[in-house]
């Protein structure tokens, strides 16, 4: 039998397509990162062929609406082009780095309670007692007060209702949505005002979300304000006073952080007025929110985004609005000047070339 050669560098021997196919079998970004550490030629192969980006796209096809990536710290210091390098190569290297960290960020723990704030309800019967705000509260009563949202009554049971929420992060992977219909424990017969079915949409807001008196729900929203990138299949809803779990067929990356719950078909009439109502006591989203160091910018309403990666920001909770770029720049400037006095004008100057 012929003696087999022990040198098995498949990237060199097997050609482009097969090598890419093999490396695309890896599901864990750590594997690609370690592959880059094996040798320079392996690293070059991974970067040149955008394998980290392909992995992210495989895990979350929704990312195809990201047109380009920026690394925020590079806005302060110009990208240093290494000898023999090219802007294209620097871009590929940067993309590789960002997508590796992004894939990594998408993998750890699932978190519940990904809803941060309600945006609107298509109708509300008694505001504020039956406001959508109540659906953030898991219990159907707080003390003696019932906690649920109610639609207005309709004589036609086919009239749907829509609840819109803002998620806890602009980039959020959603795996499951949970809805608990409300049982009117204070009405005769304890009717449960569920809907026949439910469907979910994930998307983004066309314009920055407007607060009125510090709350989103005080603004008048219209259908046009949101663009939906994902619509789930319809799930049947049981007429039970239970937190019903609707697992999405696959995990979806919501770019833009807006969720819509569409309640389809009414089943319960209120005895008093003979009208159909839908009432919900709780809505909860299970998923993985991604906050700093990632963020997005909407380029325009055609659904294209910029993915921003700022490795300098590892912000503690609640500091999301701090202009960290400015802070970093300020720190560096202070260091340069030997902690001398920094007047306001200094912050407007061009950064010194280091």
């Amino acid at each position: 039998m012929r003696r087999m050669d022990n040198r098995g560098d498949f990237i060199q021997r097997l050609g482009l397509d097969i090598s890419i196919n093999i490396l695309n079998l890896l599901d864990d970004p750590s594997d690609l990162v370690r592959a880059c550490a094996v040798s320079r030629s392996w690293s070059q192969f991974v970067i040149e062929n955008s394998l980290c980006k392909q992995l992210c796209l495989k895990l979350f096809p929704e990312l195809s609406s990201v047109t380009h990536v920026i690394e925020v710290e590079n806005l302060i210091e110009p990208v240093k082009i290494s000898a023999g390098g090219s802007p294209e190569w620097e871009r590929l290297k940067r993309d590789n780095r960002v997508y590796a960290f992004f894939a990594r960020g998408l993998t750890p723990l699932i978190k519940k309670d990904c809803i941060i704030e309600p945006i609107s309800a298509s109708s509300t019967d008694n505001y504020p007692d039956e406001s959508i705000q109540n659906t953030l509260e898991p219990e159907d009563r707080i003390g003696f007060r019932a906690s649920y949202w109610s639609s207005k009554g309709e004589s036609d049971p086919n009239v749907p209702e829509i609840l819109t929420y803002k998620l806890v992060a602009q980039l959020c992977v959603v795996t499951e949505i949970q809805v608990q219909p409300f049982q009117a424990y204070f009405q005769f017969g304890f009717p449960i005002y569920s809907s026949k079915a439910v469907r979910f949409r994930l998307g983004y807001s066309r314009y920055p979300l407007e607060l009125v008196d510090g709350m989103l729900i005080h603004h008048r929203w219209s259908d046009n304000d949101f663009i939906w990138m994902y619509t789930s299949p319809e799930f049947p809803v049981a007429q039970e006073n239970e937190l019903q779990k609707f697992k999405l067929p696959e995990a979806v990356l919501c770019i833009g952080g807006i969720l819509q719950v569409e309640l389809l078909g009414r089943v319960q009439k209120q005895e008093m007025d003979g009208l159909y109502y839908i009432c919900v006591s709780h809505v909860q989203v299970v998923g993985r929110p991604l906050s700093s160091p990632f963020d997005i910018d909407t380029l325009d309403s055609s659904g294209k985004f910029t993915l921003k990666y700022n490795p300098e920001t590892q912000l503690p909770e609640g500091e999301a609005d701090t202009p960290s770029r400015l802070r970093t720049f300020t720190t560096r400037l202070l260091q340069l000047l030997g902690n001398g006095p920094v007047g306001n004008n200094e912050l407007d100057e061009e950064p010194p070339v280091l």
Partner: protein, 184 residues
Amino acid sequence: MSNTSENPKPSSSSAKMTLKTSDNELFEVEEAVAMKFCTVKQYFEDEKDSDVAARGSTTVIPLPNVHSAVLATLISYGKKLPQSNAVADNHEEEETKKKERKKYEQGLLKNLMPGELLDLISAANYLDFKEGLEFFNQALADHIQNKSVEYVRKFFGIKNDYEPHEEEKYREEYAWAFEGVDED
């Protein structure tokens, strides 16, 4: 590895084909198995079109890019795959066959040298043998998945051309990728 094909089970339905390797070995293979090599299938169908009177065993299909040792393994693997024209087994038979196949696959991969694995992938690609390609590609990926950098370098015989400080810097930046890896 034997370079003669095993005695085929007597079967009235399957014709045989002869494949000739780069080192001039002849392999007699059942049509059902040979047809999994789409390159062979294509060649065979082209032959039919060109009106060759006797089909099957008198047609010798040349495979100048495949060595006998490699072809033997691919044929052996092809035989173990569920045959498309086989009678449907009941659940128990299916389970037993599955287990057997798993055992065979493990045995096959256990003693495989990296170079041999590459030859198999290369040949499966040339022969357009989809199942074989998938299987051996995965086998190769398994030698990267969750394996340490040292293991990968050793297995694939790759020289580390990084400066020590470069490598250290990289490992620090991506510390999360280097934790919890198999030290094989």
